[in-house]
């Protein structure tokens, strides 16, 4: 995954904010995703940002090291890409 590439949320993704959880639904692909609080944060900030920017914000938010932030963010963004929620 290219660290400098800008992440873009796909259009027409529906969301339901259930407090600490977030549900996303793509009517086009019928994919439903459930996010916990940390994945929800990544989803909220990812649009029009690069991976490096997201990792930096994530590490700052949860006060964690670079390696942990890198792993978490890449896991979530990869899953979102596979499910067609971001480009």
């Amino acid at each position: 995954m290219c660290a400098n590439a800008t992440i873009k949320k796909c259009k027409n993704i529906k969301r339901r904010d259930l407090g600490s959880r977030l549900l996303l639904f793509s009517p086009d692909t019928n994919v439903l995703l459930e996010f916990n609080a940390t994945a929800k944060f990544i989803w909220e900030i990812c649009d029009e940002r690069t991976l490096d920017e997201i990792k930096e914000l994530y590490a700052k938010k949860y006060n964690i090291g670079k390696n942990d932030a890198e792993r978490d963010v890449e896991d979530v963004i990869n899953a979102l890409k596979i499910k067609g929620c971001v480009n």
Partner: protein
């Protein structure tokens, strides 16, 4: 961190039991509205309830949903709450105003019941002129570029007209043609017009042929609810079809707010007027057998069938309706019918 989950992916909401037609096979016995149907305000409350439960997709049906005087208001409210909407209708009451509204709210599709050419359709619908009004409704929907699916409920009466209806759908730029057998429930319970084993097999091969011949012009689907034959099942399964999702991924809200796992089953899982939807979905014991279903518990002909793990016992609701037993054989499977004939 990110998970696929099982969830009420689709809530089918029967807005009313009232209907302007009198279909011979109606599994709901629709016609007269229930005395205790939800008011507009109660439906608005229910929409909020579903939203808070995380539901995304609602299909409004009936009865005939468009017959409600407040249908337009309900659609607007559901749109405001950002639901993905679809409508199941007979199409006869769809006018330009409704079509424009459905376009404006971005309805994902409208499923229109169309059972034959004029004479056959009107005979099955119990209403002279229904065909022409349905066709007009489809024309309005297509004028507004709405995704239209036609649904043909197959009986002995219209079995020979499937290709004609399919061609008609193509000529009207319909997006999807869906055929399914009449269920042996409601007005079709123990009826003379539901298909027998030989006709089911004929329907199977006919749908295979039509799928092969017309799929480049229109999406051809064959709903296997209440049906099973291995070869065609595999074909349609490969195209994303699944047998019964009731109680696991879908449920039904009846016109009076009672929630059931399946549209043909009247078992009460909970009351939307009194309880939160999510609590009913998570806790009602009515859903439990659908979620813990095990083919090894099937009885009768289904128990001995080598394909029971492919079809999953087919329709459990029909087993409940006919035998009062969730694990009884499916009375509408042609193999079960054949086995009964052999006795």
């Amino acid at each position: 961190m990110v998970n696929d989950i099982n969830y009420p992916m689709l809530v089918s909401w029967e807005l009313t039991n009232a209907c302007n037609l009198n279909c011979i096979y109606c599994f709901n016995n629709s016609g007269v509205p229930f005395a205790d149907e939800l008011t507009k305000k109660e439906i608005y409350d229910g929409l909020r309830n579903l939203y808070n439960a995380g539901v995304f997709r609602i299909e409004f049906s009936g009865g005939e949903p468009t017959i409600r005087p407040d249908f337009v208001d309900i659609i607007k409210e559901a749109h405001k709450r950002d639901f993905v909407l679809s409508i199941a209708s007979n199409g006869t009451l769809i006018d330009e105003k409704i079509a424009a509204l459905l376009r404006d709210v971005g309805v994902s599709y409208v499923q229109i019941s169309l059972d034959g050419l004029e004479k056959t359709n009107d005979c099955q619908k119990g209403s002279i002129g229904a065909f022409n009004r349905t066709i007009k409704g489809i024309e309005y929907l297509k004028k507004y570029d709405i995704n239209v699916h036609t649904r043909m409920t197959v009986t002995k009466t219209n079995l020979s007209e499937i290709e004609d209806v399919l061609k008609l759908a193509i000529s009207m730029n319909v997006n999807e043609f869906n055929a399914m057998r009449a269920w042996s429930s409601g007005r079709a319970m123990d009826s003379h017009f539901t298909l027998g084993p030989d006709e089911i097999i004929r329907l199977d091969s006919e749908m295979e042929r039509l799928h092969k011949q017309y799929s480049k012009y229109i999406t051809v689907k064959y709903d296997h609810c209440g049906h099973f034959e291995r070869k065609s099942f595999q074909i349609f399964k490969d195209h994303g079809e699944r047998i019964c999702q009731c109680g696991r991924l879908t449920c039904v809200i009846k016109p009076n707010g009672i929630i059931t796992p399946c549209e043909i089953l009247t078992i009460n899982a909970g009351d939307l007027r009194k309880e939160k939807f999510i609590e009913i979905w998570n806790n009602s014991r009515v859903f439990e057998p659908f979620r813990s279903f095990n083919t090894e518990n099937l009885k009768g002909t289904c128990a001995k069938c080598s394909d029971k793990n492919v079809c999953g016992g087919n329709c459990r609701s029909l087993a409940m309706i006919h035998y009062g037993d969730f694990y009884a054989e499916d009375p509408t499977c042609w193999r079960v019918m054949r086995a009964k004939e052999a006795k």
